[in-house]
Amino acid sequence: MNKPDMQINIAGVELKNPVITASGTFGSGKEYSEYIDLNKLGAITVKGVSDIPWKGNDSPRIAETYGGMLNSVGLQNPGVEAFIEEDLSFLKRYDTKIIVNIVGRTVEEYCRVAERLSDTDIDMIELNISCPNVKEGGVSFGTDLLMAERITEAVKKTAKQPLIVKLSPNVTDIVSIAKAVVAGGADAISLINTLLGMAIDINTRKPILANIVGGLSGPAIRPVAIRMVYEVAKAVDVPIIGMGGIMTGEDAVEFMLAGATGVAVGMANFTNPTATIDVLNGIEDYMIRHGFNNIEEIRKSLIL
């Protein structure tokens, strides 16, 4: 049996395989490099980077929920300069693609990050207009059609690298948002960011998160993610990176059948530090078992 071809192409960037890390769940790879060989990953998406350092929200920031978790990290990060100095130089030692998730409170802030990254060696920018954990900017760009298109346009003009836009699932009509960002120039779409949720400790009678609400991720949300990938894949022509509760290769294949080209592993990293590699192997096993030669074949093989 020949090894299946795992390569994918997103907006002209060749990834050796479709397994990507979900932003915010893999740091900048350093910690997981002690558990897995980063060279094996299709791409690493680093945590959200802003123009200047962000402190993030107060603790507690984590709550466990049934089959998932809430987080309200609030995009704590040391800013784009520190990212370039420390994390990027570390990541460049590996043979994998680098996707930088960028965040901001205003269009200008987003553009400054994209600008600063434009003469660096990163491979793609992922525009995060969907973080539910920051008051201004963040999610509001992702829930309003006009704002979504405008910010995509602005960042696209500034960025030198292909632009992925990461959408919020907390909307009535994901398809129209997807169309808006494609109209704004998005080269690819990431789906989904976290669902807005909340948990209360019934003994202390307080919300568990200091921020009260947070973003829900994990296998609990997978059916919502699959539905959104399916709907958006039918409606737009750009490649989709699917995520939301991928724990195994089989989960990843489900996203591909729904229409995703790439797949990102998020919360699963916390349950299993080798989750990305396990997912990769699982996809390959599936392809061998079902006689798929490449990822594109899976993506086109849903039977309705």
Binding site: K47, P60, I62, A63, Q76, T271, P273, T274
Partner: protein
């Protein structure tokens, strides 16, 4: 490469109401663990996906045995308590940055509250010189003999006075009028805050072990932060309990409210 382990449980005993001691046959962790470090324990039930951080209470390097002592406070720890000798459990570790040991110090003061006592046992084992351990509990004391076996002079306080001093451990400690070269604290936040205050007043350095809700336990999710003063600055930053801690210098910790 680091990895997950699936050690066998070789002993599991209830040592006080709702408090269990679990021994794992896990050579890799037992051989490298340092005092104040912790492990991630994972539940079997598919609805609970996040690890439970549990301090390393004691290690037996020769036999490769790891002792964990935990209180049943929720579904996860309840599920651990149902495991039996011979069962396996999923573990990641050792994790975190533990207590700093300064060999030049002659007298050590350990202050533990409730389920914060376990890491003091492995610590006592590593300390040279005089060790005084002040332990506070709601009711039944735990791990007193273990601490004594490593040479600690142990003083106990209980809220109900059922054992030792009636009252809280800080009062007991102040009453005893003992001082030393370093304080090590582990327990509930109000206790740690009081320890820090006292240490500051007395001009003694104190290391305290912080607790926060965690997702990864290895420093990637930035979920477990506490506020730590920047050196020589008014400003503070959110630092990770799992990798920058769990042990911090008490003088650097900023307490909310």
């Amino acid at each position: 490469m680091k990895k997950l382990y699936y050690p066998i449980i070789i002993e599991q005993n209830q040592i006080a109401r709702g408090t269990f001691s679990m021994k794992l046959q896990c050579n890799e962790i037992a051989e490298t663990a340092l005092p104040g470090q912790f492990v991630n324990l994972y539940c079997r039930e598919g609805e609970m996906l996040l690890p439970r951080p549990i301090s390393i209470c004691e290690t037996d390097r020769e036999k490769g045995i790891l002792t964990l002592v935990y209180a049943v406070v929720g579904k996860g720890t309840e599920s651990f308590s149902r495991l039996k000798k011979g069962d396996t459990i999923k573990v990641l570790g050792p994790l975190g940055d533990g207590f700093k040991i300064d060999e030049s110090i002659k007298t050590h003061i350990l202050i533990g509250g409730g389920i914060g006592v376990p890491p003091l046992v492995e610590l006592a084992k590593h300390l040279k010189g005089e060790i005084y351990a002040f332990l506070g509990f709601a009711e039944s004391p735990i791990l007193v003999e273990e601490l004594e076996s490593y040479g600690a002079k142990v003083f106990v306080a209980t809220d109900d006075g059922s054992a030792g001093f009636k009252g809280n451990v800080i009062e007991l400690f102040k009453n005893k009028n003992i001082t030393g070269g370093m304080i090590y604290g582990c327990g509930p936040k109000p206790m740690l805050k009081a320890v820090g205050k006292w240490a500051e007043d007395m001009g003694i350095k104190a290391q305290i072990s912080m607790e926060e809700r965690m997702a990864c336990g290895i420093g990637v999710c930035v979920g477990c932060v506490c506020k730590i003063k920047k050196k020589e600055e008014e400003d503070w930053q959110n630092r990770k309990v799992c990798t920058d801690g769990p042990v911090f210098w008490s003088e650097e910790v900023i307490w909310d409210e």
